[in-house]
Amino acid sequence: MTKLWWAQIKAVIRLEMKKTFFARRGLWIYILALLPVLLFIAHTVIISHERDRSHGIAHQGDKKLTHQDLLAVKTGMTNTEVIALLGRPPERAHWNERQISRVTSAVSGTGGSGTPVNLSTSYNLNSIYTDSTIFKAGGLDNAGNVYSSNLLTANRILNGVQFNCGPANELDAVHGTGQPIGLPAGQFASLHLLAASAYGPVLGQAITVTYTDGSASTFTQNFSDWCGCVPNPGEQPGESLAVAMPYRDSSNGTQDNQASYLYGYTFALNRAKTVQSLTLPDNRNVIVLAATLTKQSEGTRVGTSGQAPVVDVPHENYTYSDGANNLYVGLADGKVVDINLHESFNLPNESVVFAGVFQFFYLRLAIFFGCLGIFMNLFRGEILDKSLHFYFLAPIRRDVLMAGKFLAGLLATCTIFVTSELLQIIVFTGQFSPSVRELYLYQNHGLAQAVAYLGVTALACLGYGAFFLAAGMLFRNPILPAAAILVWEAANPFLPALLKKFSVIYYLKSLCPVDIPTPPGTPPLLSLLVSNPDPISTPVAILGIVILALLVLCVSSFQVRRMEINYTTE
């Protein structure tokens, strides 16, 4: 009997291989499997080109550099210092860039006139931070961008009027809420504001000054956007450019090389009346940093055109190499502003990248969809083709038929995907020089890792194959369970311990030979996906997958014996 079954299984496998392996409809699976190989081939070509380039650059340099020499370059160094350290750059680029100058219309100082309004009780947003500060608050525009206190100093004089901005790194500005802000008692001729808008110009905003007798003066004012990315800054009527800054700060502590502005506004008050309160418009996007009341009339306006002064700033790029690593130094105005050390080849990093591609792309997507296509086709495809009865009318036990089809699918997927993985490993190790390759393979467990990758690939085909064969049999539309399995596998780290075991990826993760370190700053949820906090031993993992697959296949064999031929039209 067993001999008969084997003969029948082989007949089924032959039939299925003809339909999967050698049919045009199977072409997409080859493409799926070949894509990562092509990716690594392209990577190898680029690496080899970069290596040649590095050697060329190193050769052209004044002196032979080491990795430590390259690491010695720091931001802020002058070009002379860089050349003294590393020699004349083998590759150099030079250009000029138009930038607004670090000139401000409002000068720093405390000797201006007027009565500054104390806005501190009304401060409701953080708009100024010192450079390199990391902060969590929303910032001026609620997207983490703020003025730099290194540029926007606290006390400014514009047209002789004194403005006192709030302290940096704290609540220091007021956005409009429609609530009255108390003004110092007195009779004043003008109200001056240092303000700007966010998210584009804000037009037709009402500024109201209420007097003690209950009357009020209401002014309608347009505000320009604080960001230089918005065209025509400072060109609204009644607006003057107070401070122009070449960059702004971001919440992650970096500088955003985007110009930013602060504008001055002056409103004529009824000097016969005593002021009581100032009401800003109820608009989150109108932001006031400082307010001052003056007894004299409006002073001299500076920069009425609103155009910030621009200068040509010389930029340079120097490229150095020690033969393996390339250093790209960006200089602006003779000072180092940007350093990019491109390490051309780093075996530990490359291994981690390979492991990441394997675990997160090849296993979870390429093999997943490849197995979905092949195994789902075994029964569901035959039903759609209305050819399943051909098998059911043969003198063959249905579970033997199912076993034959499953083995055919497994053989096809293993051949395709294990071969692809082998090619990837060959291409990956092909980047190394022979000595490094030997070291990696025989001393750094590279060979064991390669075998592990191939084994995990085969086990993945086994596990996913069993699930998709069952799905194709049990469901009229297997895409639903396929999508559910995709989500289930992705959510595996978040499942309870018992439910985790009913997942292929749970066992496969523990069998992957290289751990992927969690990058710093990764949110905890995402780090759960990357890491493997509770790995299981290799024998348990292999047994787990095999048992899981066998369980699913048992269910499938019950189902296939009860299957009826009842083709429905699409």
Binding site: A11, R14, K18, S387, F390, L393, P395, I396, R397, Y567
Partner: protein, 317 residues
Amino acid sequence: MSEVKQSDRIVFEDVSKFYGEILGVNRVNLSIPPGVTSLVGPNGSGKTTLMNLMTGLVRPTRGRIHVLDYDPSEPEKLFKILGYSTQFDAFPKGLTGFQFVYSYLRLGGSDAETASQMAWRAIERVGLIDAAPRNVAAYSKGMRQRIRLAQALCHNPRVLILDEPLNGLDPLARAEMIALFRATAAEGCYVIISSHILHEVDAISDQVILLSNGYVVAEGQIHSVRDEIREHPAQILIRCDRPRDLAAKMMESEHTIEVRIHNDEHGLLIKTRDADRFYLMLNHIALNGVEIESVAPADDDVNSVYEYLIGSDEVAR
């Protein structure tokens, strides 16, 4: 009556099949002997359902089925002795005609050489030797029908179930296939055919099963079935030299319902309630001088039986 051995028959014991709420067949009790048995009925009457039940492609909702000594739920045993040519006009992709038959035999466990020989023999029997190396997807309808027949016949089955086997065949091929079915039945095999072509069913069938709306309306040999239909008087066609005299004499008897003279004045059609008494009377009349050339029943065929049993159902509906 000798006891019918289960192993000699294809037996349906109170079989019903429902597709959800839709009735396939209901309370079918059949015992099919060797020979050519035709399943006759309008579309949707349950012919294909019966065939699928026999072959295990569907399972009965109720009842039991035995095909000789085999249970349809054991295909590994059943299909060694059974061949089924289905109505489905779809084939596994990418196979040639030869591969289609050959791989079926390999699935059954035959070795390569035996399977090849048997496949070629079957293909030769259906006349597709030249087309065998071509892809089945490129075959005409008739060729696809023939290759399905080849697959059903290739392992020399004892039971041959053929769902509308003459569909798409030209007259010559039909004649060849009919001869093949008769030859197979003559060897003691069971040939079960479903067809709409009633005169061919008449010509080849030993027994007939009439189905309507999932019920078996009649089964057995055509003559026996016709005899059982008492509510329709027998129609007999007589050719003679003096039809009017004969008609007058016939009208004298109480069991004669209607007599109609043929246009050529050499024949008449008689409807009688009692065919046996009619024949006795005819003998008597013939002995008394009327020259009778031929006597033949006019409605003792499948067509008439179909119309009486199933046609009336359709009208009533």
